[in-house]
Amino acid sequence: MAEKKSLGKEFTKGLIAENPVFRLVLGTCPTLAVTTSVVNALGMGVSAMIVLVCSNIVISLLRKVIPSKVRIPAYIVVIASFVTIVQMIVKAFVPALDAALGVFLPLIVVNCIILGRAEAFAGKNSVIASAVDGLGMGVGFTVALCLMASVREILGAGTFLAGAQNLLVLFGDNVLGGFNGFTLPWTEYLTPMTVFILAPGGFLTFGLLMACANKLAEKKGKPKAGLGGCQACPMAKNCALLAEGKECKEEKKEGETA
């Protein structure tokens, strides 16, 4: 079924209709943790996107070789290998980002977006479609992270794109005239609300943005975002047991009719 969809659709569905963060509610941990500044969010998003595209391609290539009983461990090995590669690249070329993301960089391994896409898409579809799907989901993840980080950084620190040189160092020293982010003009008179870059602000921003996403979805007649786009999650069965079949089954029905 999915094979027949055009590649364009495969790409754009990850951006809005099936946005991994706001619609499928996958990968919540990094979403909350690294969105203290736009630069960190961008770095995290791009790292995850690279892992997602590469692992989708490899898993799709191997989809006929991997026996279905051991597919989850096999997927994890593929994903972990790419995460290690990305980790080493980031450490070598963008050390400030490595320091800022800390433990969340290796934790891309257990990011449910990546395992979820492997299970729901790459394990069943052709290589090109899987790569495009990974790219779309990766861009959707990055955009969602940046959106959330913009809100938090502007309100919480009174800056935008602060520390841009941490990423731009990839292209050489002092590119773009040593551009290192804006300080917003009103911070002279108003103290930024630091709580927004602390833990509670993360939960609050995420909750409010998800409410907006739900409102928009409702206008278009789409279902509300539920926890863990269950059709994508390899653990759906256990989860369904836990939630007594309620949330997960509803989600699945909606997924099937859509």
Partner: protein, 196 residues
């Protein structure tokens, strides 16, 4: 002793895994609806965290670091944790049926729980020795349980509340989590205050 207590308190309160470090958010949001599932899940998390630390610490020290292979940490740890969870499931099923009944269904969920891999990696970043690592892991697990139990109470209140339509479901849960997290910010500086 002082150090041990400060590691434990830091892991439970000031650097609570869920509410301050954002690790293990998925089970925190997904399984906190009822008190008994919240306790069962956190019990399994404490168990697996302690076990994973006990197993990965020697692997890291004597196999990876000793041979200059520390760049393989991520891949080795996730595989060890996945295998360990499977093994624990089998052993419990065979030898401790009551415990299996209690924790069994939660175990597969934990394999891909970032809190377990997270605590193992953090122990290395913080350069803890074996005892300190174990304390930190158990503390992190207890902190997870504390957050889950408190939050399941909050959520049972939410069920009966009259919530605006667009906030129903996950948004209000996240906002409630934000307020619980705010209360945990009150512990900032507590450990330094007692032991500093």
């Amino acid at each position: 002793m002082k150090i041990a207590l400060s590691i434990l308190l830091t892991a439970i309160l000031t650097e609570n895994f869920v509410l301050c470090k954002f690790l293990g958010i998925c089970p925190f949001l997904g399984v906190s609806k009822k008190l008994n599932t919240a306790v069962g899940m956190s019990g399994a998390v404490i168990f697996v965290m302690a076990l994973a630390t006990a197993v990965t610490y020697p692997i890291n020290k004597y196999l990876l670091v000793a041979n200059g292979l520390d760049y393989l940490q991520t891949i080795v740890f996730i595989l060890v944790i996945a295998a360990l969870v499977q093994l624990v499931e089998l052993i419990l099923k065979k030898f401790m049926p009551p415990l299996y009944e209690a924790l069994g269904i939660y175990l597969p969920l934990i394999t891909t729980n970032c809190a377990v891999l997270g605590v193992v990696l953090l122990n290395i970043t913080k350069e803890f020795n074996f005892v300190q690592s174990m304390l930190n892991s158990v503390g992190a697990g207890i902190g997870f349980m504390l957050a889950m139990v408190i939050f399941s109470g909050v959520r049972s209140r939410l069920e009966g509340a009259d919530i605006p339509k667009f906030l129903q479901g996950l948004p209000i849960v996240l906002i409630a989590a934000s307020i619980v997290s705010l209360s945990f910010m009150g512990f900032t500086g507590l450990v330094d205050g007692i032991f500093g």
